[in-house]
Amino acid sequence: MTQNWIEIRKLTFRRGNRAILDSLDIDIHKGKITAILGPSGCGKTTLLRLIGSQLRPTDGSIRVDGTDITQLQRKALFKLREQMGMLFQSGALFTDLSVYENVAFPLRLHTQLSESMIRDLVLMKLHAVGLRGARDLMPAELSGGMARRAALARAIILDPQLIMYDEPFVGQDPIFAGVLRDLIKRINDAMGCTCIIVSHDIAETLAISDYIYVLANGRIIGRGTPDAVRNSDDPWLRQFLQGLPDGPVPFHYPAPEYLLDLRLGEG
């Protein structure tokens, strides 16, 4: 079979007249960690929602294992999503359920396992993210980092083939960002699953990814292995990777000429 487990072709998504994603081509290899880097607001979350089929594209196709998921019916879609885990940017733990019940939620829904089996599985996943002792806490009692990890345990409880991470490193202190980075890598190695990380955190993401796409203004502006991306001399990539304030992505919102605006040119 083809190496490209997920093939995205000419993917376009519009809201109103604005193209949020514009004709993207992305390949995701099985068992690898693929990262999509881009500044905030460039459409990364939208892209994940499209892959999870929560949004329908305006144009283009997303093939997973050969089937175009943009054409799937609702039932087949839900079946497909059982193979997908998603770590949402805000964690998205259900606020009315404890950590334990949050992680058990997908099991209760999709399996007929006995209560003791559920307990074992939940505790295993909680142990993997270091929260076995926090099982009885409510989401409101967790710190940001703990909530993210609990959500990760929930995302991997069904052993999905594809895990999508939405800005996993945002708002985390450096220690926890490191913990999470290792966790993502470890899960990828141990479960052999395919990972997609979208992020604007360059250092953390480059450190664990096998392949990188760089997204800006709804288009792919660069792609390659972490080394290739790091050493690229493309001005767009350089600006983004080095955090230069001005460059091809302008610092200034489009505006009339400064002096004219100040009326200094007049009499």
């Binding site: 999503r81 805000s90 259900f94």
Partner: protein, 260 residues
Amino acid sequence: MLDLLQRMGRTGLNATAGFGRAGILLWQAVWGPIDWRNGPALLVRQLHFVGVYSLIIIVVSGTLIGMVLALQGYTVLVRFGAESALGQFVSLTLLRELGPVVAALLFAGRAGSALTAEIGLMKATEQLAAMDMIGVDPLRRIARPRLWAGIIAMPILAQVFNMVAILGAVGVGVGWLGVDAGSFWSNMQSIVEFREDVLNGIIKAFAFGVVVTWIAIFEGFDTEPTPEGISTATTRTVVYSSLAVLAMDFLLTAVMFGVD
């Protein structure tokens, strides 16, 4: 001129699209297979949430409004020496109009706004999206039990309102102003008819329950997922559902008690 037309057209289109989305939401939330495993527990929880949260404000306002009604009614009736008719004046006003309407307005302000804020927050924190990803339809899991809870709770709350309001009126009328207790109650009993007054009031309350909860849930799901979005949606719930209650009250009153 053209600009005005354009804007009117856009507003009209947006409003129509909104009605469409709200209709679809109602349909999907009400229709479909019942989840016997989780459904009852979810419903009981929501009943507790909307019912108990509104109960205190309903009881307090009901008492106060009953007291005011008695006071106002007495000052008018006593001029004609008809203060013994206070019982029927208070009970008819409450059962037919004030009970359902005021209870619904309070319900919209207390439970309706809380529902919108809760669902809006779930949307903003991506809980609805997570549910959808995991394979639970948020309309079934979130909207349905809340909708039914509101529909069930509203008529009960309206009756509680009527009850405490009548007690408040007795307190002021009989206890303070000295209306004869016997004539208060017997006048009330002889004039109030079950079908005409009590049942119509319950039907009104039921209709208000549907509309207020529907608007609250729809605004929650339709929230723009930002802090400002949640606050405007909450305001919209209170404004729209209050207006809807008053407009519907006029229509229902015209149908139920109108000249025939």
